[in-house]
Amino acid sequence: MRKKLEGNGLWESSRMMLPEHKAAINEHENALRQRQRVELDEQEWEHVARSVAESLQQRHQITLRLFHPVEELTVIGIVDRVDQMKGRFMVDGEWFSIRDIEGALLD
């Protein structure tokens, strides 16, 4: 009962929503949260490639921004391996796809 006086309680307890309408709203909101892939241009790719190579060779920590359909995903660590054939790289024992890289920053 107390909830009516807290947060959004007044409106959550008094509204009339059809379940079908609610489902449509949630679907729309989830669709809004879907992220688009960022296209990198040549210069940016070059920067990413150089940073990854430096991390791999000099053992420098790197922060990589990766694509994820709904979340903001960053990988921080030292690049251990790069597998060009399979288009993937390894940070701290975990493989990630090179195609997903959206930005790189060396510390």
Binding site: L5, L10, W11, M17, H21
Partner: protein, 421 residues
């Protein structure tokens, strides 16, 4: 207004009727209503256009009464899915002005435009801009209550914007004593005819009188009338009267997991036999369980409600019981529901039946039952029927009892919220 938030409550005038009028330009100058099916009991006016209202037609009255007032009334069957779709288009339009949009019902939505207002000018100019756009794109007239919080925006819309010529009204909090507080208490949000009577009996005729009553005194007065559990409601009414509301416009508000899933229906005729009621009970249980399965919930408590058919001598019950284990298997919930029905139904004809399931837990882990060795099998069966229904509609696969005279599943599958899709 500079330091405060700017909240808009946008409301669509005669929403269903406006949508139908936009879809049927030939009815533009005729009185139009959207009304349920006259043969079933849903035969009441759901929405009346302004022309129909000028004849005295009101929402929720019977079709027959409306026809008596306005013989050339155009009656249109509801198309609920269309109204939901249009409502979503309107949401998207609002979202092009601010990301803080919270739908409150199918035709009312809150907008927090504090952060984007500088792009558009004054609150009034922005409201006018949105109003014109929706009118042009969808043929729906929207009204805007504007204030520093949600309750005042809602109040501004209901009491002023809906009645003035422009459909836009700004309710400023420091002018309440000459606006809101002069109105009779029946005009207050959340106050219906019953509460109006109670407040009048306490000596309060206007919203201002309620607002000026010290909260502690109001709590005392309400405790005397409604018992000691009325403190929260007392504070709620007091806050509404004073325009106090700190609730934020919350876009994700509908993502919150529900506490209970229930279905209820008004029957097309009164059901007097246990066997008949059981059929509807099973159908409703099936729908409830289907929704729970879709969301991945199991419920522990089942409740059943029945309302008697006789308006003059109200009968009926609403009881709940805890099942042995949480479940979303239709037959298990149904068994408990029938038990409740048998125990509490007094034998009088029934016009409304409802089933709901609550106290959820996730359905990816469950207790193995010694008494139901077929559980895996039933669950697989239900997953399969759910998938078929998802793809082809609820009526594609039915229980055999649903094609008896008492069955309502086929009718119900054609409907949303009790009205035609």
């Amino acid at each position: 207004m500079s330091l405060n938030k700017v909240i808009l409550l946008a409301d669509c005038q005669s929403f269903y009727a406006s949508v139908e009028k936009a879809e049927h330009p030939e009815y533009r100058n005729l009185p139009v209503v959207v009304a349920g099916d006259p043969e079933r009991r849903s035969g009441i006016i759901l929405a009346a256009c302004p022309i129909a209202k000028s004849f005295g037609v009101t929402t929720a009255e019977r079709i027959g009464d409306s026809l008596a007032k306005c013989p050339n009334l155009v009656i249109i069957k509801p198309r609920m899915q269309l109204y939901i779709d249009i409502s979503m288009i309107i949401t998207r339009i609002y979202q092009s002005y601010t990301d803080l949009v919270e739908p409150y019902s199918i035709d009312e939505q809150f907008l927090d435009v504090t952060g984007s207002l500088h792009l558009y000018g004054s609150p009034e100019e922005l409201a006018r801009m949105i109003q014109t756009r929706i009118q042009e794109e969808l043929g729906v007239y929207t009204r805007f209550g504007i204030a520093e919080n949600k309750i005042l925006a809602k109040t501004a819309c209901d009491n002023y914007a809906k009645k003035n010529g422009s459909g836009i009204y700004i309710l400023s909090k420091d002018k309440l004593h000459e606006t809101l507080w002069t109105l009779p208490i029946s005009k207050m949000f959340m106050v219906g005819s019953r509460m109006t009577r109670h407040f009048n009996a306490m000596g309060m005729e206007t919203i201002g009188q309620l607002a000026e009553t010290p909260l502690e005194k109001l709590k005392m007065m309400m405790r005397r009338k409604f018992g000691k559990n009325s403190d929260i409601n007392a504070e709620l009414y007091w806050r509404i009267a004073n325009g106090i509301d700190d609730s934020p416009v919350t876009p994700g508000t509908h993502q919150i997991a529900p506490k209970a899933v229930g279905h209820m229906m008004t029957l097309p005729r009164d059901y007097g036999k246990l066997d008949e009621i059981k059929v509807v009970l099973l159908e409703l249980t099936e729908l409830v369980c289907q929704r729970c399965r879709g969301k991945g919930y199991m419920g522990h408590v089942v409740s059943v409600g029945c309302m008697g058919a006789d308006y003059d001598r109200p009968t009926g019950f609403s009881r709940q019981m805890k099942m042995d284990d949480p479940t979303n298997v239709t037959n298990q919930v149904y068994r408990a529901a029938v038990e409740l029905l048998k125990r509490h139904w007094d034998g009088h004809p029934v016009r409304k039946v409802g089933v709901s399931l609550s106290q959820f837990s996730a359905d990816d882990e469950y207790q193995l039952s010694l008494f139901d060795p077929n559980r895996e099998k039933t669950m697989a069966l239900e997953r399969a029927t759910d998938a078929i229904k998802q793809k082809y509609g609820d009526a594609i696969i039915l229980r055999a009892v649903s094609i008896t005279d008492a069955g309502q599943a086929r009718h119900r599958s054609e409907k949303i919220g009790g009205h035609y899709k």
